[in-house]
């Protein structure tokens, strides 16, 4: 059976015509369409949530106790206490929401041509790294440990031919599923590249060379 027939386009069925539109992200090429988008697992928000809960309980609790035990005519202390409460609650609200938005602004976009690591933050930082699928030699997936298994998050690392790490995505959601998608997309890209090279060779009148990709597709 040909591997080509077995290949399922991972993004197209799910997304339908949604990503047929252009300009889905900055720097998108004309022939580029999105196969999938990966975001990090919500476990990365755990430190933020803990800081918020601990901070609110400590400062609001201490201020409430102060207000409880001071004499009723000490209006100045009450005013200071309320002012500190407002200042602290405002800072906590900013911290929580900005972290939450930053979480949703960090994405990994897998297209038919490239893998794009988007690292935006709400105001100051805009960073995008793109890697052509042809440059990837090896893709590793790691999901070790009980919590990673139970909550289904892990790490995907990509290497080039010389063994250097090109991308290291930590705390990704559904690592196994996304690993399979990246593998399929990578295989498809390499296969199309070999086909183009062969057609060029034929056009030039040379006999195309046998390649590893051809061996696989004929099995």
């Amino acid at each position: 059976m040909s591997l080509k027939a077995d290949f399922k386009d991972p993004g197209k069925d799910v997304l339908g015509e949604l990503f047929e539109k252009k300009d889905c992200f900055q720097g998108q090429r004309k022939t580029e369409h999105i196969e999938t988008i990966i975001i990090r697992h919500k476990i990365v928000l755990l430190p933020t949530v803990l800081i918020v809960i601990f901070g609110l309980f400590s400062v609001l609790g201490v201020n409430a106790l102060i207000r409880e035990f001071i004499p009723t005519d000490a209006n100045l202390i009450k005013k200071i206490s309320i002012t500190v409460d407002f200042l602290f609650v405002s800072i906590i609200a900013h911290f929580l929401f900005i972290n939450l938005m930053n979480f949703y602004l960090k994405l990994v976009i897998i297209t038919n041509l490239r893998i794009i690591d988007v690292k935006f933050t709400t105001i100051f930082s805009r960073s995008m790294d793109a890697l052509d699928l042809h440059n990837i030699q090896d893709i590793n997936m790691k999901r070790t440990g009980f919590w990673r298994w139970a909550l289904n998050f892990g790490r995907i690392v990509m290497h080039n031919a010389s063994g250097n790490e090109l991308f290291d995505f930590k705390y990704l959601k559904n690592p196994l599923k996304n690993y399979n998608i990246i593998n399929h997309v990578h295989y498809k890209a390499m296969h199309s590249r070999v086909a183009i090279q062969k057609s060029i060779q034929r056009h030039q009148g040379n006999q195309p060379k046998q390649t590893d990709w051809e061996d696989i597709s004929e099995e």
Binding site: C24, F86, A93, F97
Partner: protein, 75 residues
């Protein structure tokens, strides 16, 4: 002393509001150039980023108004 607290509370509320507006403006600008952030699909969050930004702005405004109201009328 009373004036100091009034200026401090109102100043903090206004600074907070300005920060919120800056963040919301920035989010709208990012998502208009990267439209995948606002599509509802299985991969992007169930709560789209623009709605989240508006909720954030609402919370900031509510906190500012609430605390100032409490300070002026109950203390």
């Amino acid at each position: 002393m009373q004036n100091f607290f009034i200026f401090f509370l109102l100043g903090t509320a206004i600074l907070s509001l300005l920060t919120g507006l800056l963040v919301v403006f920035s989010i709208y600008k990012i998502s208009s150039k990267n439209r995948l952030l606002i599509y509802k699909n299985p991969f992007t969050p169930k709560l789209p980023i623009r709605k989240l930004a508006l909720i954030y702005l609402f919370v900031i405004i509510a906190l500012g108004i609430g605390f100032n109201f409490y300070f002026f009328f109950f203390l």
